[in-house]
Structure formats: structure tokens, C-alpha cells
């Protein structure tokens, strides 16, 4: 432990703590625009300056030292901070009222705290013609004029996700964050994971807002609108309404969606159970009869699908062909459910609420997403967009009575809900795979070793019916490469694959930390959201996908069996190698 003095108070913190974090220990909040608690300091904004032993230094990137004397505010410091924020505002459009981040913007907060003059210096923001908005992906919106060059998005895109779609171009006043090669984002290596948007302090990177489109559909009397919500949404959405991270607000979300005018409220967790049936059967088939086709790699994360098609496409044969839960539910809503209620698929609108920006891309990614030529999912919204809709409609969310999801695509098992965090898909799959191989249920349903979020790449060996299954789970794309490298090496040397089953989720923590989730994510937040889903699983009466009665009914009534012709037609897809850059 290191002892230092902050504004006259003695503080003890572990060695290696930054002065900024040490200040928090002393209940002192030093303002910053570029340091995100989830990321390494980029040291870009210069607002967190403090006096350390008389020297002015950035507190975000200065580690504590024994006996350090820190002053966090005096007229000198305050004046410099104020000038810096005023300078930043001089190259910012300052059109907060029309900004998606209005009320949720770190720059706005700072401006308010400093009570400063936004017109202290001549405004030098380029025009929107000079710096147009990039909506090319349809998922992520970049408004470069609002960028404060904090470097968070570049760090997360390069160092956490290993994608290198974003970079800092040019120098001096012309410095700007932009897609690699200054291309439209959609032509860059971007995988649409949206981690950039989840970390952006301003309105420079956001999701592409499609709430208006959904409102229009809901107003259209000729359309039957149905909706689904993804596992991780229910433990994060509440944060926007004063709930703690991880608090389950599933019943209130069902209720609010119904009040919006959705005719049926479904749950993606149901489709997650279905994914397990298909993917689990795929695994069991390969494991028992086609070992040369192992490992099987999960494919329910669209950002990961995009990455694999662009970069790791030598692994396509190992990719599970099972569609993601979102896509499966969409396909069933416009077939199975539409038939049941006697609505033409073209008159049905399926909206999905996802913790993810890449899901907006997934709904159009291949021909299999358009059954009989009709797009299975019409709009995919992020958690943040649903929050916006709830606020727009005027409802006392916190006091809404809990409601239930609709049948037949609404009931889920505990295995479906844990799809929302890293290791959860694998755990759910193992529960069912065990049954499919042995005909018996697993005794212990939880595998903490692979759902532990503190490690980026996790391994486990499970023995089922005397045969060892080697498992790897990775989250945060950067952590995938070491796993796949081992597989490649073994293949090249003609050795047995080191892993039989690999789960990958692009975002750190999995969907609980997804790019479409409420802002301010940290490891603690991810963990709390994960705990929320684990509780949801534990309190479920049915905890295995194959035991979900509605799933059993669906196979009986409609699909026949997993991997049947009908199941293949509706619930599976294929992958193609694509270039890293579109042009």
C-alpha cells in the first residue's frame, strides 16, 4: 500500500493506482473527458491535471508514490481546466438539443460543472459538408464534428477488439478520428460491435437511431407488430431508470412494449433455447460421428461472424450454421407464428431489442435472413434506443406492473437467459449436449471456470460418457486469436484439435457488455449484469433448453427434430469469406 496526501487528506491505496483513482478513494472527483474507467488512460484531454509535489501533471496516467502531495483544485488548476474545456467547445457544434447524447454526454456534464462560456473562443468547427455524418454501416453513426479526439474509440477498436477499423488521422488541428484509410466505415474492417459507441463521451459515435421507424410501424394499422427482447437487455435497461446494474426488469419491459402497441411480446431467450437445440445437436453430431469437423465454433454473435468472415475465414467450416437467437425468432415469427394467427408475413413487423449494434447488420447479412423473400426482422433496436422510446412515450416505467411474455415464442429456460454473458452459451450448450449424448441430465449445471469474466480466454475439459470434451471460451476479439492459433497449429501439424467446442463473443463480458447497452460499462458493471442473468437462470423452474415445454411443442408441431429439413431451412445459415476492406 502507498500512502499519499490528497487535498490535505491522507489516503492509502494499492501500489500502481493512478492519482485519479486514488482521488476517488478520498471522495474527490477529478474531472476528465478522455479517461474511461474501463480503458487505459489516453492522456488526451488534459482536464484531469492536478498539482503533484508542486508540478502540474495528468492524474489519469500518473501512478501514486509514497508521500506524494496532491492538490486537486486551486485557482491555477481550475482556470487551466476551464480554458481547456472552453477550447474543446470551440471546436464542437454545441447543438446539444438535437443530439442523441443530449442529457447523457460527458462534455455536456463538464460544461455544466465549469459554468463556462461556450463562446469564449471563436467557433472553429468544420461544417457538416466538410465533415459529413457516416451512417454507412446502418449500425453505427459517426459524426466527426462532435469528436473531441479523446482516443477511447481508437483504443477499444484496436487494442480490445483487434479490428483497427478506427484510427486517428492527420495532425494538429486537422487531427480526426476516422475509419481506417479514411474510407466510409462500412468499407473499413469495422465489425459493427459498437464498443466505440459504448465508450464515446460525446455524440460523435452512437448507434444509428431507428426509433422513428418503429414508431411509424406501430402507428400503421395495416401492420401487426411483434417484438422480442434479448437476454442481456433485461439486466441493463433498468440503469437508465435508476435501477442498479443487474436488476431484472423483464416484466416491466414486457409491459412497456405492450403499451407501445406491440401485438405480441416475445423473448429472444426462447430462441436461445432453440439455438441450443440446433447448435447442441450440431456439436453432438460432429463430436460423435465427424471428429475431423471439430472444433465447432459458436456463431450467435454477429460482430464475431463479421470478423470471422473477414479475417478468420479459414475457420468457416468450423462455424456453427445455426442462426443466432434473434434471427431464429424472426424466422419463426413470420412463419410458425404468422400462420398460427393468420397474418401474411408481409403484414407482420418484427422488431428486436438487442444489447448490440451489430444485430442491425445481422438482419440483412445473408439470403437466409429473408424467408420467402420477406425480411424476417424488420428493425433491430439497441437497449439504448428502447430507453429513448420509453422516455419518448411518457410512462412511469418504475411503477409499471410486471407482465409476462406471449406464447408461443416467449417462454424460456434458464439456459436461454445465460446467453447474455461470456461462457453462458457454452454452459447452456453443455447442459443439453450432455443430455443428448447420455440421455441423462447434468448434476451440476454451472461452470464457473468458463463464465468467469476476469479472464479473456478460458479453457475447460468436461468428461461426458467417458469422453473428454475440450472447451475454450473467449470474449473481446483480441482474446480469440490465441485460441484459433492453437487450432491452426494443430491442423497444420496434423494433430488432434486442442479444442472441440469454442464459444466466442466479440464484446468484453459478452452481450452484458454489448455495444448497444447503456453507457458507462466497467468490469464491475459487467459482473453485476452477469449476476442478474445468473439469478434469472437460478430462479427458473426449467434450466435446460431441451426441457422448455414450448420448444418441445415447436419441434412436435412444426419443425420435427433438430437439424431436420424444416429446421435447416428456417434456422440455419452459411458463411462466405469476404475481403477485409470493401474497396
Amino acid at each position: 500500500m502507498v500512502t499519499l496526501t490528497i487535498d490535505g487528506m491522507e489516503v492509502k491505496v494499492p501500489e500502481g493506482t493512478s492519482v485519479l483513482d486514488a482521488c476517488r478513494e478520498a471522495q474527490v472527483i477529478v474531472p476528465t473527458l478522455c479517461k474511461h474507467p474501463d480503458l487505459e488512460p489516453t492522456a488526451a484531454c488534459g482536464i484531469c491535471i492536478v498539482k503533484i509535489n508542486g508540478r502540474m501533471l495528468r492524474s489519469c496516467c500518473t501512478p501514486v508514490a509514497e508521500g506524494m502531495q496532491v492538490i486537486t483544485r486551486d485557482p491555477d488548476i481550475m482556470k487551466a481546466r476551464k480554458t481547456i474545456v472552453e477550447l474543446i467547445l470551440s471546436r464542437h457544434p454545441n447543438d446539444c438539443l438535437g443530439c442523441l447524447k443530449n442529457g447523457n454526454c460527458e462534455l455536456q456534464d463538464l460544461a455544466q460543472e465549469f459554468a463556462l462560456d461556450k463562446d469564449a473562443f471563436a467557433n472553429i468547427t468544420p461544417t457538416s459538408e466538410e465533415m459529413p455524418i457516416d451512417k454507412s454501416t446502418g449500425c453505427i453513426q459517426i459524426d466527426p464534428r462532435k469528436c473531441v479526439q479523446c482516443g477511447r474509440c481508437v483504443q477499444v477498436c484496436q487494442n480490445v477488439q483487434n479490428v483497427y477499423a478506427l484510427s486517428s488521422l492527420k495532425r494538429g488541428i486537422h487531427t480526426r478520428m476516422a475509419p481506417a484509410g479514411d474510407l466510409p466505415l462500412d468499407d473499413s474492417p469495422c465489425i459493427k460491435c459498437g464498443q466505440c459507441s459504448a465508450h464515446c463521451p460525446t455524440g460523435a459515435i452512437t448507434e444509428v437511431d431507428e426509433t422513428g421507424k418503429v414508431w411509424n410501424y406501430l402507428q400503421d394499422a395495416t401492420k401487426t407488430c411483434v417484438v422480442q427482447i434479448a437476454p442481456a437487455v433485461r439486466v441493463a435497461l433498468g440503469e437508465a431508470f435508476g435501477y442498479k446494474s443487474g436488476d431484472l426488469v423483464t416484466g416491466k419491459i414486457y409491459a412497456v412494449l405492450r403499451r407501445m402497441g406491440f401485438k405480441a411480446v416475445f423473448d429472444t431467450n426462447f430462441a436461445a433455447d432453440l439455438t441450443i437445440m440446433e447448435e447442441g445437436s450440431e456439436f453432438v453430431k460432429r463430436f460423435t460421428t465427424e471428429p475431423e469437423r471439430l472444433p465447432l465454433i459458436t456463431s450467435c454473435c454477429p460482430a464475431w461472424v463479421d470478423y470471422l468472415e473477414k479475417i478468420d475465414h479459414d475457420m468457416i467450416d468450423h462455424f456453427s450454421t445455426a442462426k443466432s437467437p434473434q434471427a431464429m425468432l424472426g424466422a419463426l415469427a413470420k412463419t410458425y407464428y404468422a400462420e398460427k394467427i393468420g397474418v401474411e408475413p408481409k403484414d407482420m413487423i418484427v422488431v428486436s431489442i438487442m444489447p448490440c449494434t451489430a444485430k442491425k447488420w445481422e438482419i440483412k447479412r445473408s439470403a437466409e435472413m429473408f424467408h420467402d423473400g420477406v425480411q424476417n426482422i424488420d428493425v433491430s433496436l439497441t437497449t439504448r434506443e428502447l430507453v429513448r422510446m420509453i422516455k419518448q412515450m411518457g410512462v412511469d416505467f418504475n411503477n409499471l406492473p410486471d407482465e409476462e411474455a406471449d406464447s408461443p415464442l416467449g417462454q424460456y429456460s434458464g439456459a436461454g437467459t445465460i446467453f447474455g454473458f461470456s461462457g453462458g452459451v457454452m454452459e447452456a450448450a453443455l447442459r443439453t449436449a450432455h443430455y443428448l449424448i447420455t440421455g441423462k441430465e447434468l448434476e451440476n449445471l454451472e461452470f464457473d471456470q468458463i463464465t468467469n469474466l476476469n479472464e479473456g480466454a478460458k479453457e475447460m475439459t468436461l468428461t461426458i460418457a467417458g469422453k473428454e470434451i475440450h472447451i475454450a471460451v473467449a470474449h473481446g476479439i483480441k482474446n480469440v486469436s490465441s485460441v484459433l492459433e492453437k487450432v491452426r497449429r494443430a491442423k497444420a501439424n496434423g494433430e488432434k484439435t486442442p479444442y472441440d467446442f469454442i464459444e466466442v463473443m466479440a464484446c468484453p463480458g459478452g452481450c452484458v457488455g454489448g455495444g448497444g447497452q447503456p453507457l458507462g460499462v466497467t468490469n464491475a458493471v459487467r459482473k453485476a449484469r452477469q449476476d442478474g442473468l445468473k439469478n434469472d437462470d437460478r430462479k427458473s423452474k426449467v434450466r435446460c433448453s431441451h426441457l422448455n415445454p414450448d420448444i418441445q411443442k415447436l419441434y412436435k408441431e412444426y419443425l420435427g427434430a433438430p437439424l431436420s429439413e424444416k429446421a435447416e431451412e428456417l434456422l440455419h445459415t452459411h458463411y462466405v469469406a469476404r475481403p477485409l476492406y470493401n474497396k
Binding site: 492522456a43 471563436a122 494538429g172
Partner: protein
């Protein structure tokens, strides 16, 4: 890496021992060969003289010697910078038994005449008096000029008096003797102590004690078996060309300094980071590395000892900020050259996250001299806290502009009036600018200011790498400030807000004032931005870029005041 067997190592060492003898023999061979000549012509072909036609002069001299049949008797050398660039290209004639004779503003025509009328008649006639025709007389440059006599050349010792490409000549002049002394007579600790005792401080501008920096590296453990040293040759101040000339005049002294540091600190390899705009320096560094590898000065088990070291050249793309050590390392690693936070300091996590030290070209060039002549010798020159000499590029409105080396503590007056010979325009001297865009102005009233780290800092400027620009009465201080700020605004890497935006906004306000449209409020805003930039910028470039503006406001407030729209409303600056 493949491990070597003890036998292989012993074999390598035996080769190394032979290489040492061979190198020393190269020096002896040079001296013996040089004895054969009756005269030597040194003609400057450094960057400045080269662009002034130095190469043509060299060719003309060569041809004239051949025509006169003197090629065997007269050695012709294209040298590094002779110093007085204002009078370049320069040629020095050294005939055995006679005083050296210096010609200025050389042309190929004059070259022919010199061989015919000066050298040919005197060779073999020691009693004959030199009689020059008027057109040659007017080309004479007195070697008794204060420009020469007030200088003390330590770093520039070999420049202008040797062949930058001849390793043998470097050895004959004492080159690599310091390294040999270290390897065979001193422990690494003793070398470190000697450098610490000398009081040598970083010549790149900051003035950090070199010995202390080395000690930090010596104490840092190897990471993956590696520790690095870097030669910062990214000099980029407007008007500065010290490093260009030092490297261009022969890079062995710098390489030797690096080798000595590597021995003292345990560094395993080194990099020269030199900007692409310095083709001659790049050529000479490459040649020095090639020669050193061939001679066994670089490599494994150097001279049969346990000391191994490798050096490589990396070319910088010319961004000013890459002279900042952390940005330099980012660039060396292949990234965009933007500074990174310190700590961790390079001695903990430097290049490729391994312990690293970075010293400037001039700092490295001092090292062999300190080892050869001793720390006491070095420390006997200079002031209490600034030891040794300093190389300056003296430019601007000064009569004798050029590359000079003076003892630390030389006053501004001595520099401008004696070494520089006063203003070139004859108008009264107004100020000098030191430290480049990071520095400030020294007004005429501070003429007695000694040039050393502390004194310069005290008045709001800095030593910097050694650019010194002289200004006369007709220069507008507001325009000077605008020029330097414009430079740093262009060269800001854009990473951190205070520098990226502050510099730009300040330049806007300054331009407004220079255009006669500014007010007192604008001047106040300039000061406000300046203070925020000094406090809030991440690296030295941003922290110091307001200096030229703030220091001109401080020393020449009346010039700003006169330009303000509301100048009559008494407020003062």
C-alpha cells in the same frame, strides 16, 4: 537465438582481439600515409556549402591538382562543416611548415587560381613569401577573427579538418581510443562515474544530467534480454542544423559515444533516429555503421571482450514532435508519432516497452572526449551548473552566421558582437531567439546574460538544441512570435486538446492583433490560453509552444500595445 558454445565464443573473441589491433593499425597507416603529403586542402562540403556549390569547388580543385601534377603531393579532402556558413563554401590550405590559410566564398574559378598561384609556387619552397594577386587576396578570410578565436571546438573537433568518411583518420585523431580505454581499463561503474562527474547535461534542450539518465538505465533490469539506447537526430527547430552537421561531419564520434554508454549501462542495441530531410547525415550514419560492423566495433564480443552491441539507422519522416522522446519511440515502433504519458519513463518502459535512454546527437559526441580527457577537463569549461561547451547554429541578422561551439557561460554579447561580428544590417541589435519554437527571446538589455541552462530558463527562454536567431531593430516581435507559433501549430501532433486547440486559437488571436484588429481582451485570452497550454499539455512541445508568444509579450509589450485597436484605453499588457 542460437546459443553459442564456449569454443565458438572463444573463437569469436580471438577474432575480436585481432580486429582491435587492425583498427589501431588503420590509424597508424593513415598517419604514415598522410606524412607523405606536402600539403592538404580542406574544402567544405557540408550541407550548407554543398548547396552553395561546394561540390563543384571540390571537383575544380581536384582537376586543378591533376593538371598541375600535384595529386600525389597534395591531399584534397571534402570536409564537414567549417563553421562560417555565411562565407561558404570555404577552403583551407595547409602547407607543411606554414600557417593555415583560409579562403571564403569559393568558386571553381578561384579553385584553379589557388592551385596555380598559391599552392604550386610555394610547394618545396619554404623560404618563399606568399604573394597573392588582388582577386585572391579579397577571398582571404582571417583566421584571427573572433568568430574562430572565441570558439572552443570539442564536439566539432573533427569537423572541417578531416575526411568524414575515413575511419582511419578518425582513429588517427584519437577515435575509438575512448571506447578501448573503457573496455580495457575501466569498469562500467567507473565509466558511469566519470560521466556523472563531468556534469554533462542533455544537449537536446532539457538539460537532464546525462550520467543520471545512464544510471537509471544501468539499474534497470534487461527485459527479454534487451535494453536500448537511442540517438535522437530528429532536430527540427527552424534555423537549427547542429545535429545535421555533427552527423554529416562523420558519425563515428556519436557512435563511439553510444558504444561507451552501452558498455556503462548494459544496453544491448541502439538506434539512430535521423530525419529524412538530412540526406548527408543519413549517408554518413549508414557509412559509419557499415564501417564499424566491418571493423568489429559493432557486433558480438567487441575487441575480444564480453561486450556486444549493435546499432541501426531509422529514418524519421520529419515530424517535429518526433524529437520528443516518447513520440520518437512511438515512431520507431512504427506508430503515428504521438507522445505517450510519462511515467512510465523510458528507462522503465521505453522502446518496445523495454528500458531505453535517448540522448541527443551532441550529447553523444561529447562522451568520447570526456573519457579521453577526463571528467575534470570537461568540467573545467563552462559554468557552475552547465559544464562543457555548446554548439549553436547562429543565424538571422548576424554578420558571421554559422555553426559555432563556445564554452557554456559565454554571454549573449560575446555571441552576437564577437563571434557573430554584430548585426549584418548594421542596424541596432534588438534580441536573440533561442530554444527554437520552445524557447523565447532574449532582449538586448539582457546582453550580459550567460548562455547556460538555468539563466536562459529564468528569463523565459531555454537552451534548446542550439538554434540562435539574431534580430535587429527592424524585426517585429509580434511577427516573430507568429512565425514560431505557426510552426508549432503546424507541428502539433493533435493528440492532446490544450496543444491542438490552444495553439490554433492562440494563433488566430495573434494574427488578429498583428493585423491591427485585436483588443486588450484578445491579449488577455492569449495569456489565458498560454497558461492552460503550459499546464495542460502532455509533452514538451505543447507545454513550451506558447513561450515565444509569452516572452515577446513580456519583453516587448509596447509592440503589442501599438497594434491594439483599443490601445488608448490604458490597461497595459
Amino acid at each position: 537465438m542460437v546459443e553459442m558454445t564456449p569454443e565458438q565464443i572463444e573463437k569469436l573473441k580471438a577474432v575480436g582481439r585481432m580486429q582491435k589491433d587492425k583498427l589501431l593499425q588503420m590509424g597508424k597507416d593513415f598517419t604514415a600515409n598522410n606524412e607523405k603529403y606536402d600539403a592538404t586542402i580542406f574544402t567544405c562540403n557540408a550541407t550548407s556549402c554543398h548547396s552553395g556549390g561546394g561540390q563543384n569547388v571540390y571537383e575544380a580543385l581536384k582537376q586543378a591538382l591533376e593538371t598541375a601534377g600535384l595529386s600525389e603531393r597534395v591531399r584534397l579532402v571534402a570536409t564537414g562543416c567549417m563553421g562560417l556558413c555565411a562565407a561558404g563554401p570555404m577552403t583551407r590550405i595547409e602547407i607543411k611548415g606554414r600557417k593555415p590559410f583560409l579562403y571564403k566564398e569559393m568558386t571553381p574559378d578561384v579553385a584553379h587560381l589557388i592551385v596555380e598561384q598559391h599552392i604550386k609556387p610555394l610547394l618545396g619552397h619554404p623560404e618563399m613569401e606568399l604573394k597573392l594577386a588582388p582577386h585572391l587576396q579579397e577571398k582571404e578570410l582571417s583566421m584571427d577573427l573572433p568568430f574562430f578565436t572565441k570558439q572552443r571546438r570539442v564536439v566539432l573537433k573533427h569537423l572541417g579538418s578531416s575526411d568524414p568518411e575515413d575511419l582511419g583518420e578518425y582513429v588517427a585523431n584519437g577515435g575509438y581510443q575512448a571506447l578501448i580505454k573503457c573496455l580495457f581499463e575501466m569498469t562500467p561503474e567507473q565509466v558511469l562515474d566519470e560521466i556523472k562527474k563531468s556534469g554533462l547535461r542533455g544537449r537536446g534542450g532539457g538539460g537532464f544530467p546525462t550520467g543520471k539518465k545512464w544510471e537509471l538505465l544501468a539499474k534497470a533490469p534487461l527485459v527479454d534480454g534487451e535494453k536500448f539506447i537511442i540517438c535522437n537526430g530528429d532536430e527540427g527547430d527552424p534555423g537549427a542544423y547542429m545535429d545535421s552537421c555533427i552527423l554529416g561531419g562523420g558519425s563515428h564520434a556519436v557512435l563511439e559515444g553510444m558504444l561507451i554508454a552501452a558498455y556503462a549501462t548494459g544496453a544491448t542495441s541502439g538506434w539512430f533516429y535521423v530525419r529524412a530531410e538530412y540526406p548527408l547525415a543519413l549517408e554518413r550514419v549508414e557509412l559509419a555503421i557499415k564501417q564499424a560492423k566491418k571493423a568489429g566495433i559493432l557486433g558480438k564480443n567487441i575487441f575480444g571482450t564480453d561486450f556486444s552491441f549493435m546499432a541501426e539507422l531509422r529514418i524519421g519522416a520529419g515530424a517535429f514532435v518526433c524529437g520528443e522522446e516518447t513520440a520518437l519511440m512511438m515512431s520507431l515502433e512504427g506508430n503515428k508519432g504521438t507522445p505517450r504519458p510519462r511515467p512510465p519513463y523510458p528507462t522503465e518502459k521505453g522502446l518496445f516497452q523495454k528500458p531505453t535512454i535517448i540522448n541527443n546527437v551532441e550529447t553523444w559526441a561529447n562522451v568520447p572526449q570526456i573519457i579521453l580527457n577526463g571528467a575534470d577537463w570537461f568540467a573545467s569549461v563552462g559554468t557552475e551548473t552547465s559544464k562543457g561547451t555548446k554548439v549553436f547554429a547562429l543565424t538571422g541578422k548576424v554578420k558571421h552566421s554559422g555553426l559555432v561551439e563556445v564554452p557554456m557561460g559565454t554571454t549573449v554579447k560575446e555571441m552576437v558582437e564577437d563571434v557573430g561580428g554584430g548585426t549584418s544590417t548594421g542596424k541596432p541589435f534588438k534580441a536573440v531567439q533561442t530554444g527554437g519554437p520552445s524557447g523565447g527571446v532574449i532582449p538586448a538589455k539582457e546582453l550580459n546574460l550567460p548562455l547556460c541552462y538555468e539563466e536562459l530558463k529564468k528569463i523565459g527562454s531555454m537552451m534548446g538544441s542550439g538554434g540562435m536567431i539574431v534580430m535587429d531593430e527592424s524585426d517585429s516581435m509580434v511577427e516573430i512570435a507568429k512565425f514560431y507559433l505557426g510552426f508549432t501549430v503546424d507541428e502539433s501532433c493533435g493528440k492532446c486538446a490544450p496543444c491542438r486547440l490552444g495553439g490554433y486559437q492562440m494563433l488566430k488571436l495573434l494574427t488578429k492583433i498583428a493585423d491591427g484588429k485585436g483588443t486588450h481582451a484578445d491579449l488577455e485570452k492569449i495569456k489565458e490560453i498560454g497558461s492552460a497550454m503550459q499546464k495542460g499539455s502532455l509533452c514538451g512541445l505543447g507545454q513550451t509552444s506558447p513561450n515565444p508568444v509569452l516572452s515577446t509579450i513580456k519583453y516587448f509589450p509596447e509592440e503589442y500595445e501599438a497594434l491594439l485597436q483599443d490601445k488608448d484605453e490604458k490597461k497595459g499588457c
